[in-house]
Amino acid sequence: MENLNLFIFIAIMAPLTMMLFVFHGKYKVILGYAMAGIYICMLAGEVNALILNNADFGYIYLTQNISPLTEEFLKCIPIFLLAFLFKPSRQFVIECALALGIGFALMENVAVLFSSGEGVTIITALFRGFGAGMMHGICALFIGLGAEILQRKRRILVPGILGTLSVAIIYHSIYNTIISSDFMMFGIALPLITFIPLLFIMRKQMKK
């Protein structure tokens, strides 16, 4: 099937779009960000395919060095727009960033598992789901935290954005390097050892 990704995209987006008319206020925005994540995943896939077709490097080089750059760059745009144009609360920026990251991961996982065909097992699905899901969530969370801090500190806006983006890109690249090697099973370890302390710190800060 030629346009499988497009069909999946339509199948996921259609019910979510209907839900968008039912939800109100904060929930509507969060759902909108999850949908934006799904859309950005499609867009990033097209951009990566375009780069791969026009460049002289292979698929592995693309996943390790180029796709983290394009994906994180595209992901950061809506998060920074939300933070700087609407100046919402700290918690809301983080929630929207997480929704965007999870939306991205959802679309990517579905597309990858469908394209893998019969080779998919429950182990692959679990590792893909938890590993890539958490990784995209954490990358978006880094950007969300950066955006939230930078909306209060406009003086360091440009260096701050570039610094935050660098962190997200390198983290994404590390994960991609692990899963494209023989140590694929350790791919889940990186998001796990980052997510748990991050969750702990965030919960502690929320309590304060």
């Binding site: 750059l69 500190k153 003086r155 962190v167 390198i170 692990i178």
Partner: protein, 269 residues
């Protein structure tokens, strides 16, 4: 994977950076510490992430990437965090008379980006025959932030701390930031000339500079807290952001001891 001298040294560099980052995060990552020092911790963390990327690549593929790779963004991000730290630290000082007072020192600070800029242009000129155009563009993008980072670090290094006392506590940190910038340019020179072992030694010295930066940040944070509130006061003509920063810095330490009245004890609880 054969562990040669260069590879081993790169692993040592990564371990040292991670240790420095954890040390900094434990000591400095709380609300009572001025934001300058917290951003310095982020800079070291970003550099450590770049090192981790190199190590993971080495473990997964069996060879250390001596080529241009995404792990170089660790340095890129680190430099931008260093610039952010200095720009954020500068917020307190916005008085016009101080700008005139520091005019000579500010002019002197242009020496650092001028020298490093000439060195970078020379290296890119040398590298043009050895590497492809896309890699030259990538290297230029990665190393360009060295210029503002070195300028800002030298600026706060040469400014006397007579009028603004906090400069006294950021001087040592800025000295190590400047050293880090110079060593990074030297590292690039060695990389371009394919002197891998010497480059690894230079990277190790870079990492040691970052470790020293973390130590100096801990010392600086303690000193900053001891400045009295009057010294951090911002005049009325400054913007709101500066006032907020000043207020945050005032909260940072036990500058003025409060008497142990009942209301104060309740407030602190």
């Amino acid at each position: 994977m054969t562990l040669d001298f260069s590879t081993t040294l790169n692993f040592v560099c990564f371990v040292l950076t991670i240790v420095a980052f954890i040390f900094g995060a434990i000591k400095l990552f709380n609300r009572n510490v001025p934001i300058y020092f917290r951003i310095c911790v982020c800079a070291v963390g970003c550099y450590a992430l770049g090192g981790l990327s190199e190590c993971v690549y080495a473990i997964c593929t069996g060879e250390f990437t001596a080529d241009v790779s995404i792990s170089m963004l660790g340095l890129f991000g680190c430099l931008f965090f260093m610039i952010s730290a200095n720009l954020e630290g500068d917020k307190i000082d916005k008085r016009e008379e101080l700008k005139i007072h520091y005019k000579k020192h500010d002019l002197f600070a242009y020496i650092a980006p001028a020298i490093l800029g000439v060195a970078l242009i020379y290296m890119i000129y040398v590298a043009k025959d050895q590497v492809t155009l896309s890699k030259i563009i990538f290297l230029t993008i990665v190393y360009i932030p060295i210029l503002p980072a070195s300028f800002l670090s030298l600026l706060y290094l040469v400014r006397p701390s007579d009028a603004v006392k906090i400069y006294k506590y950021t001087k040592l940190s800025n000295l190590f930031i400047l050293l880090f910038c110079i060593l990074s340019v030297a590292d690039l020179y060695l990389l371009i000339n394919q002197m891998w072992d010497a480059s690894s030694i230079c990277s190790l010295v870079c990492v040691l500079a970052l470790c020293a930066l973390m130590y100096s940040c801990c010392r600086g944070a303690k000193g900053w807290k001891s400045i009295s509130r009057e010294d951090l006061a911002v005049p009325a003509d400054t913007d709101d952001g500066a006032k907020e920063e000043s207020a945050a810095n005032c909260q940072a330490g036990p500058a003025v001891a409060k008497p142990n009245t009942k209301s104060n004890i309740e407030e602190s609880a």
